[in-house]
């Protein structure tokens, strides 16, 4: 137990330490200040702009930024769809993999374009190395950079700046942040034993004389951007539980840190943009505390173990079902909470085997979307909640609500409300439909309360652009592929559009100077109130499904039946 807590504690300490460093660096990149990579990257970026005809000085309005995102994403989606569809004709297909069905390709492409990376297929037996690395790997960079750009544009608008230029933000996000860190990380992973090869699947004769196929490929490069960009789509079906993706404790640590680094740092980046580091830290600690509580809930459940198993065997064991023994209960619980918190979606154990406490914590993250939250968008969601809190409670200081000196009026509330409304719509409604036809549609492997968790998790993961799954669902079916695609698309683009329009309208507002009569949003009391509003607006919506899912399952287990 002590060792497990030490592992969790050490990881969290590293997170706290790198947040200000990376946060400041991201801010410098997007504020256009000088950074260490200028000498290498400036010429590259300039040629990219020239080739693509982008005028980097052109500022975009809200709608221009939105259109730029939608068009590039659509273009990339069509491109990658074709690449996978014609993978048989393309290079790097040593295993000669054929054409997957149209709905699985569609779901996969939508899933990777949106930074969701929900996988209804097994990577090593469906996609060629080219499809994995060139097609999906490409989307892993661009989808992460898109999220980052949205977050930055949102912060710019909120702090009264122009939104910027999407193409520039996309490019700089890749060249200055995602690519350099991925290269360093991939090299480290290779050194620690992760394969990087385009050789075909090995066929081995085992000691017993049987034949074993060992899938491999250019894993290390894929792995790093998978974690850093909150993509989470594994090279292998087993994702980071696979020994080639995540061979040992050290790679696990690197991948964990890579997963949380950018979402945590973005809060600090906000602080630099707003010149209010104090508020950044307050928000950081607010999220951090909720995060630690959720880790504690999940890890506590795993440490306690399954009372039915322990009771039958007469032992005191942590829950090791669905875990890689090399990581154990602590690193798996931390990972599970973190991967749902950051919308990464990579897994290093079987989430279906988590104790109900773990299910509660992971679902909680997927419902809230702000306990760190997705790449870039998580911070934007956090500020949407902040805006709603100001609107609901700010009146109590005797002024109409204003945040950062800008009045919150009907337009902002309509947009923020839309963001608040969309998640329950695309999670609860399809879940209800799927559960109404448990056999024909949902294909639940584990009925009862757990079945509710399985279905709701799948849609929440889709809508929140997380991509992890409890698995256990027969999810490579037409129903699942199409319905989750719809949740993914709506859960990704509607909030992005609303966020950018909101940022745009905030940036155009005249600021009211701060006086002693103005509500200060960077105080401890206000941050506490924000946490309360987040819980009421974000969690109470999903309280019935939490009650009928993991909570009921937990009570059932505790009662020993």
């Amino acid at each position: 137990m002590g060792q497990g807590l030490l592992q969790i504690g050490l990881t969290l300490c590293i997170v706290i330490a790198i947040t200000p460093v990376l946060g400041r660096y991201i801010a410098r990149v997007f504020l256009g200040e000088r950074t260490i990579l200028d000498r290498v990257m400036n010429p590259i970026e300039r040629s990219v702009y020239v080739i693509s005809g982008v005028r980097p000085k052109d500022e975009m309005t809200g709608w221009q930024y939105i259109r730029a995102i939608l068009y590039t994403n659509l273009f990339m989606g069509i491109l990658v769809y074709s690449l996978i569809y014609f993978q048989r004709l393309l290079p790097w297909n040593p295993n000669g993999l054929g054409v997957p069905s149209w709905d699985i390709v569609l779901h996969t492409v939508i899933s990777f374009v949106t930074n969701t990376d929900q996988q209804h297929y097994a990577g090593e037996t469906t996609l060629s190395y080219f499809s994995q690395v060139a097609a999906l790997g490409f989307l892993m960079f661009t989808s992460a950079a898109t999220g980052l750009a949205v977050g930055i544009a949102f912060i710019r608008g909120l702090t009264g700046r122009k939104l910027g230029n999407f193409y520039v933000d996309l490019t700089r996000g890749i060249t200055r942040i995602l690519l350099p860190i991925s290269v360093i990380g991939a090299i480290a992973l290779v050194l620690l034993g992760v394969p990087q090869t385009i050789g075909e699947t090995l066929t081995i004769t085992t000691l017993e004389g049987g034949t074993q196929y060992i899938a491999r490929g250019p894993v290390a490069s894929f792995e790093m951007i998978k974690m850093l960009g909150e993509n989470g789509g594994g090279f292998f079906a087993a994702n980071s539980a696979h020994p080639f993706e995540n061979p040992n404790g050290l790679t696990n640590l690197i991948e964990t840190i890579a997963m949380i680094a950018i979402p945590a740092a973005m809060i600090y980046t906000y602080g630099v943009f707003a010149k209010n580091i104090k508020q950044a830290w307050l928000l950081f600690w607010m999220v951090f505390i909720v995060f630690v509580i959720l880790v504690w809930v999940a890890a506590g459940g795993e440490l306690q173990g399954n009372p039915l198993v322990n009771g039958t065997l007469g032992i005191e064991q942590p829950n090791l079902e669905g875990k890689e023994v090399r990581f154990g209960w602590a690193e798996t619980a931390l990972w599970a909470v973190m991967t749902t918190a950051t919308m990464c979606g990579a897994v290093n154990g079987m989430h279906d085997s988590l104790m109900p406490q773990g299910l509660f914590a992971t679902l909680f993250n997927l419902f809230l979307q702000i306990i760190w939250g997705g790449q870039g968008t998580g911070t934007a969601y956090l500020f949407i909640y902040l805006i709603l809190t100001v609107f609901l409670t700010g009146l109590m200081v005797g002024r109409t609500p204003e945040i950062f000196g800008r009045k919150i009026e009907k337009r902002e509330i309509v947009l923020a409300s839309l963001i608040l409304l969309i998640h329950p719509i695309v999670v609860l409604i399809p879940s209800a439909i799927a559960l109404a036809y448990p056999f024909s549609l949902s294909g639940i492997s584990n009925p009862s309360f757990h079945g509710i968790s399985q279905v709701v998790y799948e849609y929440a993961s889709a809508s929140a652009n997380n991509g992890s799954g409890l698995e256990g669902l027969t999810d490579n079916s037409l129903w699942w592929n199409l319905s989750t695609s719809l949740s993914i698309l709506t859960g990704r683009y509607v909030p992005i559009i609303a966020m950018l329009l909101l940022a745009d309208s905030m940036s155009r507002k005249q600021t009211v100077p701060q006086t002693p009569g103005t509500l200060k949003t960077d105080s401890l009391i206000f941050t506490t109130v924000t946490a309360g509003i987040v819980l009421i607006l974000g969690v109470l919506t999903f309280f019935p499904v939490l009650a009928l899912g993991p909570i009921a399952e937990g009570f059932k287990l505790a009662s020993g039946s």
């Binding site: 009146l395 109590m396 509710i452 002693p516 009421i536 109470l540 919506t541 009921a552």
Partner: protein, 708 residues
Amino acid sequence: MRSPSRLPHETRDSRQRTPKTDMRGLYQRAIKESFVKLHPKIAVRNPVMFIVWVGTIVTFLVTLNPNLFGTVQANINQQRLLNGLITLILFFTVLFANFAEAVAEGRGKAQADSLKATRSDTIAWKVLPNGSLEKIGSTQLRRGDVIKVVANDMIPGDGEVIQGIGSVDESAITGESAPVLKQPGTDIASSVTGGTRLLSDELIIRITADPGQGFIDRMISLVEGAERSKTPNEIALTVLLAVLTQVFLIVVATMPSFVNYIANFISTAFGAEAANSLRAGASIAILISLLVALIPTTIGGLLSAIGIAGMDRVAQFNVIATSGRAVEACGDINSLVLDKTGTITFGNRMADEFIPVNSYTVEDVARIAKLASLFDETPEGKSIVKLAEKYKILADVNLNQAEGVEFSAKTRMSGTNLPNGKQVRKGAVDAIKGFIRSRGGSIPSDVDVAYERVSLLGGTPLAVCQDNEIFGVIYLKDIVKSGLRERFEQLRRMGVKTIMLTGDNHITASVIAQEAGVDDFIAEATPEDKIDVIRNEQSQGKLVAMTGDGTNDAPALAQANVGLAMNSGTQAAKEAANMVDLDSDPTKLIDLVTIGKQLLITRGALTTFSIANDIAKYFAILPTIFGAAGIGALNIMGLKSAQSAIISALIYNALIIPALIPLALQGVKFRSLTADQLLRRNIFIYGLGGIIAPFIAIKLIDVILPFS
């Protein structure tokens, strides 16, 4: 009537005009209105309560036929009773919300009636074509009427002088306390403004504008509230409340599928009875109950009452707002632009000191000054007599034998011809000098020293003389209203900056500014400067409030975010402003800021309270209706049963609306604290209180209810 003598430290309550309405009649009308408001066309304006109303109708239908939406497994009569109870409580919830709005509206109407009754009416003497005079109310004056005004009368309306010459006190409009000479012919000098006062002589005036009567009437109809439009903040809040309602609608609408799925499983694992109990928890009446408990009915039901009551509180101050938007804007004000005269200082200067010259003593000056003021009925004259009495000066003159010389615009002095033939005069220093020279007297050099001294202090010097000898100079001082310093200090704490505007010179202005404790001042300001000051503040993103009454204030009143016109002011000013003070007391602007803030705080407090309530309601209802799913342990309140829990939560939900009506109508008590202190205090009371209160109340109701 201008009443500059009103003191700002008078308590609010003493100034408030409490409507003497028949409270029983008010409530009876409100109860009747509550039913009228059930009409779908009216009900749909409030989306939150409309959902409750629709829910009531559905639960009524399932009371008539519990099997309407699928067969119910439970005892049909029990189910009918439960559904009936739910219907009844929901119906009352809607009625309570309607009642809150109706009471607020009723109070507004009563207020408007009392305003109409008490509105003061200036008297005017209309010159009839045959030359005779007719006494009529100023409200009956029409454009083109010719009237006669004599000294000390209020000029009843805007007009043009066609005959006579006289000095008019226009300090109400221009802020300049020196009287202005009015005579026919010239452009500016011939126009007079309603609400100004003729100080000397008499004038024949042709009225050029219909009086403010119709305008005030229009405003009163606004107070009555029939055509009230929602304020921007109210609209935004309504949007958010509607969205929260939709979110919970989705939550509740999807629940049957989840419950049914679990029930199917439970029926195989634990038997049909447990499954049926779970399904009963998702029956239509219970789902509607859960929905009504979760949607923000408390604030939804009280929102419009809070807005109407805010307008009403303003009206109780005898101020009429043209819109709720203006009242809301009062809370947001960053800068107050205040005229010095009448707002910060009393409109008239008071004698503060006698300065002897020419080797006379203070007592000598006091005696002459008093003699010269015996017949002077102006506040200045009275203040001279009062100050003289401090020196125990007795006016040993038989008043019947003395003769008063009135101030006129030509001579610019007034005084008394004493029985012994001596003439005492007081007046502007150069006018007195002329008086003395004309009688062959000499001017001692220390007169100019005294003159300089008074001017440097920001005062007005008046010389006093007897025949051809100057005795001294009276120091007339602007007196800052008491209590203003503290008010400005409070405003500063709330983040409101005060800017004083005056036509006085820089020295005078700075003296007064320092004494009153304003943050900033503009001296030698013309009316045009007002609008510049406002624009300048607004360009920094600030919201500005100002008062004004002159025609030349109209553009500034229109430019300001909150423009408070004096009822005594001109038509143009009142049209341009968004509020009119019927008492014409400019210091009320400060009170309006607090009323605006109070309105916003009340709205915010009840919103926070309403939303915080959801936690307890969830914990009351969910664990009991899903008890069969094994989550009974979440029933931390230990409620008796699902029925009891639902009825208790709904009763609480309904009763909290009438319980909060007094708070909604009176407003949260306002304290002049900083934003941080206010937030901490209100979050503690309405946020934390909103979480805890329903836990206690629902548990109590559950204990009292006779359910098993």
